[in-house]
């Protein structure tokens, strides 16, 4: 009876995973297709992989995607961690108000975030450019005159990065916050009493406690950045484009199978990394379990699984 039910639930899971992976498998298979169709198989070939390495637009877009995601993740993780520590030492009222504002980019529809940031940037840049074009400062330094010209600004990598950081930080705060809440605050006070500087207390006491939260926050931030299309689409301007933007503009005409090839490569890299990390974690968990066995064995056996 119980076995049957387990089998049933496994079949159900299998079907869902088939649903989730069917398009990805298709993409991988057709990246090796000799023809340029996504429907008709015309024989095995590596030509799309070969062409991919000559397609500057796609390579550039992959580079842009990874760069903006990595930078946004690093900045958002650091800023978000500090902000979370700050939030959790505030009074409850202030904190919950700020957390509500913090939730806005997460709760808001992407298109609203994208459009509103785009409008803000355009409005501010409009004012700035008017100023920059008409206003030049000449300063006299040690007898030599220097003229300072301000650059004209337009949407580009910088604005896209700001947008990514903005929607990433909430995820970091959200995953660091609970760890801070669980932490025993007496530890920090104890460290301070024992003469730790504030910085030292942060690195020696707080950081180890919230490390897992930071890591998972960074992971989520990176995932969100890589998966994002809408917000980049509205804030990237014309000088840069991410892989997603490239795909969108192609999907409305003809998509070159090079896109299948590049996605297959990215997918395999991620798969490889995840498998490696997971194997390591699993091994560590096993080792940990073995080490703990001795102590748990004598303790309360009933709480082995929590």
């Amino acid at each position: 009876m119980k076995k049957e039910r387990r089998l049933g639930s496994r079949i159900f899971m299998g079907l869902i995973f088939l649903f989730l992976y069917a398009p990805i498998l298709l993409m991988i298979v057709f990246s090796f297709n000799d023809g340029n169709s996504n429907v008709v198989w015309q024989g095995f070939s590596l030509r799309w992989y070969e062409q991919l390495f000559h397609d500057r637009a796609i390579i550039q877009s992959v580079y842009t995607t990874l760069l903006v995601s990595a930078l946004a993740t690093v900045i958002a993780t650091i800023a978000g961690t500090f902000a979370a520590v700050g939030f959790y030492s505030m009074r409850r009222r202030t904190r919950s108000m700020l957390l509500n504002v913090n939730n806005i980019p997460m709760m808001n529809a992407d298109i609203v975030t994208g459009v509103s940031l785009c409008m803000l940037f355009v409005a501010v840049f409009g004012l700035w450019n008017e100023f920059a074009v008409n206003y030049r400062v000449i300063i006299n330094l040690f007898g030599t005159k220097y003229r300072i010209t301000f650059p004209e600004l337009s949407l580009g990598f910088g604005t896209m990065l700001i947008a990514h950081i903005t929607f990433n930080i909430p995820y970091v705060i959200l995953s660091v916050g609970p760890k801070l809440r669980q932490m025993d605050h007496n530890l920090v006070d104890a460290a301070r009493d024992l003469g730790c500087t504030w910085m030292r207390a942060f690195f020696k006491v707080i950081l180890p406690e919230i490390k897992t939260g930071i890591v998972s926050g960074a992971l989520i931030a990176f995932t969100m950045s890589v998966d994002d299309f809408v917000i980049s689409y509205f804030t990237a301007g014309s000088s840069v484009s991410t892989l997603a933007m490239e795909i969108y503009s192609m999907a409305r005409k003809k998509v070159t199978p090079e896109i299948n090839a590049v996605s297959t490569l990215l997918f395999l890299v991620v798969l490889f990394l995840l498998v490696a990390v997971n194997l390591r974690e699993a091994r560590q968990a096993k080792a940990q379990a073995r080490r703990n066995y001795g102590t748990v064995h004598h303790g309360a056996g009933s709480r082995a699984r929590t």
Binding site: P23, M107, V112, L127, L174, L243, F267, T306
Partner: protein, 290 residues
Amino acid sequence: MKTSRSLLAAPYVLWMALFVVAPIVVVVIYAFTSAGVTAAEVGDFTWSNFTGMGIYLPIFTRSFQLALIATVICLLIGYPLAYAMAKEGPGFQRTATVLIMLPMWVNFLLRTYAWMAILENNGLLNQFFQSVGLIDLVNHILGTDMAYFRMIRTQGAVVLGMVYNYLPFMVLPIYSVIIKLDHSLLEAARDLGADSTGVFRRVIFPLSLPGILSGVTMVFVPSVSTFAISQLLGGGTHMLLGNLIELQFLGGAYSPHLGSAIALVMMVIVVICMWIMNRFGEGEEQAVVL
């Protein structure tokens, strides 16, 4: 001492003011003004952006309808999946979670594009149906003369795209709540004589409500506002709110004031929905996080 530590949040508070609050203020200003003389200026205060919105009512209803359907389907599939995952051993659990997250690293547009090839009239699915004789069978039963099933460029395809893309956002929060349930509670319920349906109905389900609530939010909001999925799978004939907004900014009918008004109305409706939903229970903030 504490105050100095709370200053750590100061840069981010400033950041939020600049890039979270200010953009919304800009949207509000645009929504309530008419077009200015030049593109950089805004005109006078007006309600006209809102009063003329009646003709878009069908788009509003369609968007909310489709998003609701997609959310319900996600919940119906996602809950059992999360529940089944939580019942497995730790190794299996780890693999399953990774398998759910993994597709998100292939950009969603690409996965959606792959669906186009599957659902096309001469696409893979129709070829499959053809080869197993399903289409002939249906024609025979219904007395029709179809060469294929019409799947792409229908509302069904749009819902499928939403379910496919946002299912992980439903599964993960629910899973992470169920996994944290205190097993002694379940044992207590069983000891007190509840059968397994009883345990599920009276203990597990109510306790997993926070996960459901945040899952529903995370599926509903992107579904109601998507424009790429409806553009690619809906073939431009089933316009949703996202398409309508995009059309006013970067699309074929430039009108940022109207676009802002529509975005604002959508935002308000979504907030009201969330507020009503949260009255049934507090959404689990950390549920998003594994």
